[in-house]
């Protein structure tokens, strides 16, 4: 069969793509989809095309705390009621999480739970009393392989490529609650009702004068899902998460080692890595493969 020049080029080009893609990707050290994701800066292709016609995005501020993979270690034996409550109060205050009377509609980003409920696969009849009474702090685990992100139909919840934080884009969430069904840890809350008064005296009367405590940070509206965000907005300003800050203060005062430690899992010298190297740690439901980034030292 005679091969003309055009055919040769077509076949040659296709072969290079077919056989050369793998070695090229290996040389880059990442897969082609990861490479594309990085180039697009975490946006989708339609979003990137739109951005071609508008101003490009900004940059990271100098004082921001950055990491490749944020993780938290909860040193449970250093926790007590007071510290746990303070963590929850600080988080909910800083993020304007509403306090809702009806327990069915409650919204919580971080809260206390008992051992047998946090680690249902591990608990047994003869757990020591101290452990039984210890307040375990639970929150979103910011999994490395999050099922919630896998199921979100709009990417309203997504894992940020830069630092591994699993975030909510409140502007995009359609409130389908698929992520809530997918989360193996029950970490997500939905806004079943209007959480804060909007405008007008009538609304304020209904809410009995309650107002969002932190005017610098937005609230959420009804119909969206929310959860712990590892204080991404504080990290951007160089501050550690509110719960970590508060627990460190209290633990210092009580002369204990810190109950919550936050750091970069990919940095071998970070506090979290040091702690994990020296103590035995467990994670919630590791057998499910979601690869949680919150560790518990029990």
């Amino acid at each position: 069969m005679a091969v003309n020049r055009r055919k040769f080029l077509k076949i040659g080009g296709a072969s290079i793509l077919a056989f050369g893609a793998r070695p090229a990707a290996d040389a880059l050290g990442i897969s082609p989809t990861e490479w594309l994701d990085e180039k697009l800066g975490g946006f989708t292709i339609p979003e990137t095309l739109f951005h071609l016609f508008r101003k490009p995005a900004g940059s990271v501020a100098g004082e921001a705390l950055t990491a490749k993979r944020w993780a938290m270690v909860v040193n449970v034996r250093a926790l007590d009621e007071e510290i746990a409550e303070a963590c929850k109060e600080a988080c909910h205050r800083v993020h304007n999480v509403p306090e809702i009377d009806n327990p069915k509609h409650e919204i919580k980003w971080i809260w206390q739970e008992e051992y047998e409920h946090v680690f249902p696969g591990q608990q047994h009849e003869h757990v020591d009393d101290a452990l039984k009474k210890l307040p375990f702090l639970v929150m979103c685990n910011h999994c490395f392989n999050p099922p919630c992100c896998r199921v979100c139909p709009t990417k309203a919840t997504f894992k940020r490529k830069k630092d591994g934080i699993v975030l909510m884009d409140m502007h995009r969430c359609i409130g389908c609650r698929f992520c809530m069904a997918a989360c193996p840890f029950g970490a997500r809350s939905f806004n079943w009702i209007i959480p804060w008064p909007r405008a007008g005296a009538e609304e304020e009367r209904r809410f009995k004068g309650k107002e969002p405590p932190t005017p610098d940070y937005p609230t959420r509206a009804k119909g969206v899902v929310e959860k712990c965000n590892f204080c991404a907005e504080r990290l951007a300003k160089g501050k550690i998460p509110a719960c970590v800050e508060v627990s460190q203060e209290l633990c210092n005062k009580k002369g204990r080692e810190p109950a919550l430690v936050f750091g970069d899992l990919e940095d071998p010298d970070s506090e979290v890595r040091q702690l994990l190297r020296s103590r035995y740690s467990i994670r919630r439901k590791p057998e499910l493969g979601s690869n949680p980034n919150v560790y518990y030292i029990v």
Binding site: H117, P147, R150, C152, P153, T154, K155, I174, P184, W192
Partner: protein
């Protein structure tokens, strides 16, 4: 042909008026829900999907059952079903419309619905669900309308419609498989994390759908001059029998796996559904037992040929099938997956009155669509003389 839907006797208009009334009430309730949020339903932080999604799941099954008539007729040339393919397709249209509406009323932010199209996410099962459901709706409208038009004109259906008809067969299977995959791929929900989810869904679809079709056919025979035919109903009855037996068998398989392995996390959900929690028996418990009593009774009535061939008893069996599958799939399945929650805590769920009214409004919308379409179909059939028994 649509003009046939606007011509009718007194009973027809009374039906339309009643349906519009229920739709109106449901719509007003939904406006209230749109204003104040989904908190007016019985759903909670722990049971974040409830009646709406349960109904959606059930109705996807009913819609998929259209294939149980299309497959024998177009692929196996079972001539008898040619009389009722249009009824099956129009029922599918009504069912899929209800599915889409149930998803709409369940959304926290329905105005942002377009985001699913603006930010396509192929790794999300819900994305594929949207595609297959809308595709199936389009297919059924296209095929049903064109075939009926051709029949009215007295000519065979146009050649180009054949690929669409053949496409609708695997597509029907796909809509229910994708819906099953919504549940079956979630690592944290042991009740749903089973490979038999999709087969269970399909089997309950293929008994509930044809059962509803039989009931609709009997109503059509009584209220219009079109007779779907004794043989057709008899064959549908056999289909319901096989599918129902499979459905219960699959459930017994689930029971065996869960209770023989004695894994507490998996047993909890079944225990909650059938025995309540630590003596605290919820309203759901008697309902679940009722569901299986209905399905068992239906199987007995259906398996015995004498009772299955008696149309009166067949009617009873179909009603029992619908009740049983509806409770099992439209209610028990969803709630059972959420209770106990991932932290092994119990939160009960029961739909509220506004939630029920909205759901009834959506059901009425589906029935309105089916009534209008059936009026068209039966009028055309009578016009061309295809309906005389």
């Amino acid at each position: 042909m649509l003009e046939k839907a606007f011509v009718g006797g007194r009973k027809y208009w009374v039906l339309i008026a009643c349906l519009l009334g229920v739709i109106g009430v449901g719509f007003i309730m939904w406006l209230w829900q749109f204003r104040v949020g989904l908190g007016i339903t019985g759903m909670s932080r722990d049971v974040s999907w409830g009646f709406y999604i349960g109904q959606f799941t059930y109705l996807v099954g009913v819609a998929a059952a259209g294939v149980m008539v299309v497959l024998p007729y177009y692929v196996h040339h079972y001539k008898a079903f040619g009389r009722i393919t249009i009824l099956a397709e129009f029922m599918a249209i009504g069912a899929v419309s209800m599915c889409l509406l149930f998803i709409l009323v369940d959304l926290g932010n329905p105005v942002r619905m377009i985001n699913v199209l603006l930010h396509p996410t192929p790794r999300s099962v819900l994305f594929w669900d949207m595609i297959v459901l809308n595709g199936y709706l389009f297919l059924n409208i296209l095929v049903g309308w064109n075939v009926l038009s051709a029949e009215r004109k007295g000519s065979p259906p146009p050649g180009w419609i054949k690929p669409f008809i053949y496409l609708s067969i695997p597509w029907a299977i796909s809509i229910h498989t994708v819906t099953a995959y919504l549940y079956a791929g979630l690592p944290g929900r042991g009740f749903w994390l089973t490979a038999i989810m999709a087969p269970r869904f399909l089997s309950s679809a293929f008994c509930a759908g044809p059962a509803i079709l039989i009931l609709l056919c009997l109503i059509v025979r009584k209220t219009t001059k079109f007779d779907p035919g004794k043989e057709q109903i008899r064959t549908l009855g056999s289909i319901v029998t096989y599918a129902l037996v499979l459905n219960v068998f699959f459930f017994l398989c689930e029971l065996f796996t869960v209770f023989y392995s004695q894994i507490p996390g998996h047993m909890h959900h079944f225990h909650y559904l059938f025995f309540g929690h630590e003596g605290h028996v919820v309203k759901l418990v008697p309902l679940m037992w009722l569901a299986f009593a209905c399905m068992t009774a239906a199987i007995i009535l259906l398996v015995i040929p004498v009772t299955r061939r008696n149309e009166g008893i067949l009617t009873v069996a179909c009603v029992l099938t619908v009740i049983g599958t509806w409770i099992d799939k439209g209610f028990g399945l969803v709630v059972g997956g959420f209770v106990p929650n991932p932290l092994e805590r119990i939160t009960d769920y029961w739909p509220t009155v506004p939630e029920t009214l909205i759901a009834l409004g959506v059901w009425a919308t589906g029935f309105l669509i089916i009534s209008l379409l059936y009026k068209v179909a039966t009028s055309v059939k009578v016009e061309v003389g295809a309906g005389q028994a």
